[in-house]
């Protein structure tokens, strides 16, 4: 089997496992929509920074392989899994998230303050991605950079920044509560 495909399958497996765990944990949530939204919203505020850390830690597997040498199978699997994680995180940033919960809960979680925080985080993510693009552009004047490396750096900078910023804003929103 192609190792990139294996990586994507590993990523899909991880996403399905996370979804199953989320579904099991949601059974223990309190009854009303407002209480569920409160618990999930707090959980998201707690989870965003560690998610960004996991996402950034994955960069090590990409940049530990020199561009000049052919990547090992294990590296291609990790890179494909990273791509899938990036897509999932982007989807979580761009949508209400919590896809396995009811529409009422999802609508309430994505209320006015959350949307404002999310938009702010997306703006920061975009600016950091563009900043990374500028840095890569300058870097190419001194070092050869492959197209995939450039895309990888820009995506990582944008997504990680948006996650960290959103997590910070969500945590701050709960202060003095």
């Amino acid at each position: 089997m192609n190792s990139y495909l294996a990586g994507v399958l590993v990523g899909i497996g991880a996403v399905l496992l996370a979804a199953a765990i989320a579904k099991l944990r949601s059974r223990r949530l309190p009854g009303s929509v407002a209480e569920k939204a409160e618990v999930l919203s707090k959980r998201r505020a707690r989870m965003l920074p560690p998610l960004a850390a996991i996402f950034l830690a994955q960069q090590a597997s990409y940049f530990s392989t020199p561009a000049t040498t052919a990547p090992r199978t294990v590296d291609t699997v990790k890179i494909s899994a990273w791509l899938l994680l990036s897509i999932v995180l982007l989807a979580a940033l761009a949508t209400k998230g919590f896809w396995f919960h009811s529409k009422e809960v999802r609508d309430l979680i994505d209320d006015e303050n959350t949307r404002a925080n999310r938009n702010h985080a997306m703006r920061s993510g975009f600016l950091f991605a563009m900043g990374a693009g500028v840095c890569v552009y300058v870097l190419t004047m001194f070092e050869p950079v492959t197209a995939r490396e450039a895309v990888h750096i820009m995506m990582s900078a944008g997504i990680a920044t948006a996650l960290i910023q959103w997590g910070f804003l969500e945590r701050r929103a709960y202060q003095d509560a």
Partner: protein, 68 residues
């Protein structure tokens, strides 16, 4: 000098014996949003300001004001 939107959300809410969670449920937002508006961290939209004022039985002008 920058303008600041101040409010008496907390005073009025406690006056009516409401918790943040109860007020949030009344206006259809999470407790977090009520908390951020109360603390002046988040400026609500006109829609949310009207909903909050209605829930607290005040006019928007009585609930929010601008400090220069």
């Amino acid at each position: 000098m920058p303008e600041r939107l101040l409010n008496k959300l907390k005073d009025r809410r406690t006056e009516l014996g409401l918790t943040q969670a109860e007020l949030a449920e009344k206006v259809g937002v999470t407790r977090k949003t009520v908390n951020t508006v109360e603390n002046g961290v988040f400026t609500p939209s006109a829609t949310l300001a009207i909903k909050l004022a209605r829930a607290l039985e005040l006019s928007v002008e009585q609930l929010f004001w601008i400090e220069r």
